[in-house]
Symmetry: C2
């Protein structure tokens, strides 16, 4: 690797080739704090520099791992000593904002929050939002097709991307920096790089779609008497609010009661004896009309017995208090440690039975085991937290099997929004057919025949 | 081809292998009425039958052309005598509707309008809409990534597809019938088949996303004093209406005046001396609140001088009267015949100058030539109608050059929503780089190395 690093240092400057302590000081996993084990970290400053780096790596058959904001949850940033990390930290510029066309062009290393702020400065919004907004990058959001809390209203990252530029494994640059909502001139190549976790190319720049602002936020916490009431409520709120329903975050009683009454971490805004709770959020423009519409929708839900009780946030503080219950991962870790977390999706109609069966199976195997369930119900996405008292690899494998296996029959997915990375690679076949996996290998082979880009991630190297 | 047809007839029944007059009676182009010239038309009834047909074609190296509703505009359905047409007309079932999850599963040959109706039957809507709704099929909508009149609100066909199934060139079946909004388990293979015009696989089934209904429609025709007022109006209406703005259809004076005052085909709802007109449409839920919000937005636009005048549709009949001006293709044909039509997209900020320059260039070449412009402004999409008195191939080529060449520098596209087909294949390089076209060939080679599927369409066969 030394000769290659010398060549790269000549191209991008020795200060931008990190080795030794500068590598191990970097944490590749924010949950475990695991250090980076790569042979070196290189930091190109431009697409041209990155293309030169990849041309050199390609000639030397040097495998690389791309780093964005390092906020992923599936070990996608892990690198072996014989691998080279390419960090996009110096490619973080917001290059252009077009308020007329409603577009923003950024380099891949730009943090999500900076993009959100730049959109607000021209009176628009960039609607993708997630907890890691301050650290995660646009390139990482694209590579993992990030989701978050507003997917029912605005879609995942894929829907926010109008154009992008990527460097391929051989160092060639594919620049598809389209700015229009409509462009059907040939294959839509950007789709290849969105959600493929850096295995088909390294995203360097993107043109993002901005949206009109929706400044009035209405938030409520409601209690549902049954799962059928919960799904009825989803349909009712969709019809009553039209395009403005932005969040439909369900908490099973297990989740709501644990983080309020049981742990004492949050005062319960509603009594804890309902089977299901939902945080409803709507984004509107005209404050008075929107507030009235939201209240009417809740009143109708009460009348139709879709909900038993409701509390409407009357201030930003109350709103944050409601969301704090849903987002209290710390509280889950405290209560369930050692904690296994899962991010699955499945058809909404199958969720109640799936959770009940999973809970029963866990209790059979570990009588003191606990399952805590919440999720973006409107998106078909559940986040499952499991604590069984131990976390050795065999236990982990047994829990994974209980969680993932039933998804095959239900048409569910082992990853709703976190991706596959290394963590779920061996479970891909639970939810994708042999023909699908063969086609993924065909694509990998066509774009990266030497297997240089994020090897072993998503798909096993050499298999297929 | 005879041995192959015999083999296919044994598999799918002789009544489903059409030859002779049954082939030539079919029109492959609804504008010209050109007859089908294929060697035969085969009509499988299921994915299994289609897979068997493709396995046989693959073994015999038989090129095929897929037929949906035959409403395309870029000669994508043309077939040569040595080619076999595969028609999906017998695969038109709506297989399932899930009102809880908001999904509909259909075979590729299902007409768009039947899908819209099936969604309405369960109190939801399928929002993609275009003039050919009665004939065009879901498979064709997917293969061409259809657009239409509600793209600013709901996106193009790509955004409506949750999962799909396709038969590849070798007859293998890739079934990705995902039902969830979120699924990041490996590469999103369906994206390969959306918008690639049948060149990478034959779409057989799809899971579509349904939306809550938005039954209250508010429609207005407004006159704008300048292009900057027009773009200001787009931003203003987006902010004022939030998610409910569904159409922003601009007509240059050339279009509005021709189809009202000049031709006498439609009474002009507003005086014809403004430089720009826009049809604004908003889709809401609560009729009173939505109507009030729409009126306030229009009043504010008048006060801010973004518009000079406005007429609000007070009835369905008035609404149809306004749209009839925008949709009167017959009127354009009458006035400009022989007519050349174009479907381009470009950044909104560049549109005024592009149209002015194009008009000047046309007048220099053909002093009596006319350019009539309208389009989905909010999507960056212009439909240009050009009449220069003649339509010989040399004239067509000269007009195409004037229309397409300036798009390269502007970052525009030679096809916003109609696709490439045969008609625009030789102009692909105007708006896609050599690296992009090389990557398209890489994909074609990986998925269809014998070049059997819709050969010569989109990309030249064998080049690259």
């Amino acid at each position: 690797m030394d000769a290659l690093l010398k060549e790269i240092a000549e191209r991008i400057g020795p200060a931008n080739v990190l080795v030794g302590d500068d590598v191990t000081a970097r944490r590749v996993d924010w949950l475990t704090g695991a250090p980076c084990r790569a042979g070196a970290i290189v930091r190109p400053a431009s697409t041209d520099e990155l293309a030169a780096v990849m041309r050199a790596c390609h000639a030397a058959r040097q495998p690389v791992v791309t780093h964005g904001g390092l906020t992923g949850l599936v070990h996608g940033a892990e690198a072996a000593p014989e691998e080279l990390v390419i960090s996009l930290e110096r490619m973080s510029a917001i290059e252009a904002v077009d308020p007329v066309g409603g577009t923003l062009t950024a380099q891949a290393g730009a943090p999500l929050q900076r993009v959100q702020e730049a959109a607000e400065e021209v009176g628009l919004q960039f609607p993708l939002d997630l907890g890691a907004r301050g650290s995660c990058t646009i390139g990482g959001n694209i590579a993992t097709n990030a989701g978050g809390i507003r997917v029912i209203r605005y879609g995942m990252m894929r829907q926010q991307v109008l154009g992008l530029e990527a460097v391929l494994a051989d160092g060639s640059v594919v620049s598809s920096l389209n700015h229009m909502l409509k462009n059907n001139a040939g294959f839509d190549l950007k789709q290849l790089f969105i959600g493929s976790e850096g295995t088909l190319g390294i995203v360097t720049r993107a043109v993002l779609r901005l949206q009109p602002p929706a400044p009035d936020v209405q938030t409520a916490l409601v209690a549902c008497p049954s799962f059928s009431a919960l799904t009825g409520l989803l349909g009712h709120m969709g019809r009553a609010l039209g395009g403005s329903l932005a969040a439909f975050e369900a908490m099973w009683q297990s989740h709501y009661r644990l983080l309020t009454e049981e742990s004492g971490r949050h005062p319960p805004p509603l009594a804890t004896d309902a089977p299901f709770y939902v945080i409803l959020e709507s984004l509107g423009t005209d404050p008075d009309a929107h507030a009235a519409q939201f209240s009417r929708a809740l009143e109708a839900a009460l009348e139709e017995e879709l909900i038993d009780d409701a509390v409407l946030a009357q201030s930003t503080q109350q709103r944050h208090g409601i969301w704090a219950i849903r987002e209290d991962i710390e509280g889950l870790i405290q209560a369930l440690s050692p904690l296994f977390t899962f991010d699955v999706s499945l058809p909404i109609a199958a969720m109640e039975r799936y959770v009940e069966d999973l809970e029963a199976a866990l209790h059979r195997a570990w009588p003191k085991g606990r399952l805590v369930t919440f999720g973006h119900l409107g998106d078909g996405n559940l986040h499952l937290s499991v604590g069984v008292g131990v976390s050795d690899p065999a236990t982990r494998a047994a829990v994974e099997s209980l969680v993932y296996t039933p998804l095959a029959e239900l048409g569910g997915s082992v990853s709703a929004e976190h991706g596959i990375g290394l963590e779920k690679r061996d479970f891909l076949a639970v939810c994708r057919t042999p023909e699908e996996i063969a086609l993924m290998h065909t694509l990998k082979q066509a774009l990266d025949p030497q297997g240089l880009l994020n090897r072993h991630k998503v798909l096993p190297h050499g298999a297929g």
